[in-house]
């Protein structure tokens, strides 16, 4: 018996066995601590904004002042990463359901399709309310400008699934309107670490 032949066959089997496991390799975890172990101030101010949530109420930097918030950009007809983002956002929602010092803020980048009633229906399907989780729409240019301010990629792209291209990043903003953390909102482990960051921020004085 030729050993090398057996080895080659064995290696071949190992390589082809069960087909390739293709995983989502784009798990970006932006997760850094300041020297004292606390959260860094990644950006120390954001422009003023004024949007309208699923109840038709206005949501502005002033109305959110004093509260920390977690924000993302999505659209309700998004067939790709948004359900996963909503699922992970729900984990954050559920963990801090009884705290009034944190809210969630999801911006729709589909300002034509996602009217206030559409956003309200979406929130109802997720069984969440505007006191905990704002789904906002508003001026198209201002939404995209804010995406840039939060350093999130969002584009109108006819070739992307659903017509819009955007990243699944969650951003943590503190009560003074400063960016304090990021995570990949489609990655369960990253979101778990992100919630530890939120805990740290809550304990900051």
């Amino acid at each position: 018996m030729n050993w090398n032949w057996i080895l080659a066959l064995g290696m071949g089997l190992l390589l082809t066995a069960c087909g390739g496991n293709v995983d989502n390799g784009d798990a970006i975890i932006i997760h850094e601590r300041a020297a004292d172990g606390g959260l860094r101030i990644i950006k120390d101010s954001l422009s003023d904004f004024a949007f309208v949530n699923q109840e038709g109420d206005s949501v502005t930097n002033a109305s959110l002042a004093g509260k920390m918030y977690v924000t993302d950009f999505f659209f309700t007809r998004c067939p790709s990463i948004c359900p996963k983002m909503s699922q992970q956002m729900l984990r954050i929602h559920d963990k801090y359901a009884d705290r009034d010092d944190i809210v969630l803020l999801s911006h729709s980048i589909d300002t034509r399709g996602d009217s206030i009633p559409v956003l309200k229906k979406y929130a109802e399907k997720l069984e969440v309310t505007a006191d905990r989780w704002h789904f906002v729409t508003g001026d198209h240019d201002l939404i995209y400008q804010m995406a840039e301010e939060y350093m999130i990629a969002a584009n109108v792209d006819e070739n992307a699934p659903g017509g819009y291209e955007h990243s699944g990043i969650f951003v943590l903003v503190d009560g003074q309107g400063r960016i304090r953390g990021y995570c990949n909102g489609t990655d369960e482990e990253a979101v778990t670490a992100f919630m530890n960051d939120i805990d740290l921020l809550m304990n900051e004085d």
């Binding site: 066995a17 069960c18 359900p83 659903g162």
Partner: protein, 135 residues
């Protein structure tokens, strides 16, 4: 000689482990297609997402619709649908890049995962279903 014997033994163990792994996942191709095409909405475990996305795990809809589910995978679904007594009113995009073999693999993966035990659908039935709903 001794080294070769040890090496071969290790190789046999590795092959054995992988063989066992394959036995546990009889529909690895279906699993791969599910991950790439379905999982971002229907989740790793086929669970519902509140009232936004219906469950695949333990879904009575799969039990009652058999091969016709192939049509939903290819052409999508819009409007109300009732699963396990809950009405879901949303939009699922069709996946028209999947051929009948892919769809069969996905169906068989879904129908036999997460506690689902709905048996196997063959390619002929899927092709017949897809013919009947051609758009």
């Amino acid at each position: 000689m001794k080294i070769k014997a040890i090496f071969t033994a290790l190789l046999m163990i590795a092959i054995g482990l992988i063989w066992q792994d394959c036995q546990l996942n009889p529909n690895e191709e279906g699993a791969r297609l599910y991950r790439n095409n379905c999982q971002s909405c229907h989740q790793e475990n086929g669970a519902a997402l509140k009232k936004l996305i219906p469950p695949l795990a333990g879904s009575d809809y799969l039990t009652t619709h058999g091969a016709d589910v192939a049509c939903i995978i290819r052409y999508g679904l819009e409007g109300p649908v009732t699963v396990n007594g809950v009405t879901y009113d949303g939009v699922m995009a069709g996946l028209d890049h999947l051929n009948a073999v892919d769809i069969t693999n996905i169906l068989n993966y879904i129908n036999n995962s997460w506690g689902n035990d709905l048996g196997y659908i063959n390619l002929r039935d899927v092709e017949a279903a897809l013919d009947s709903c051609k758009q």
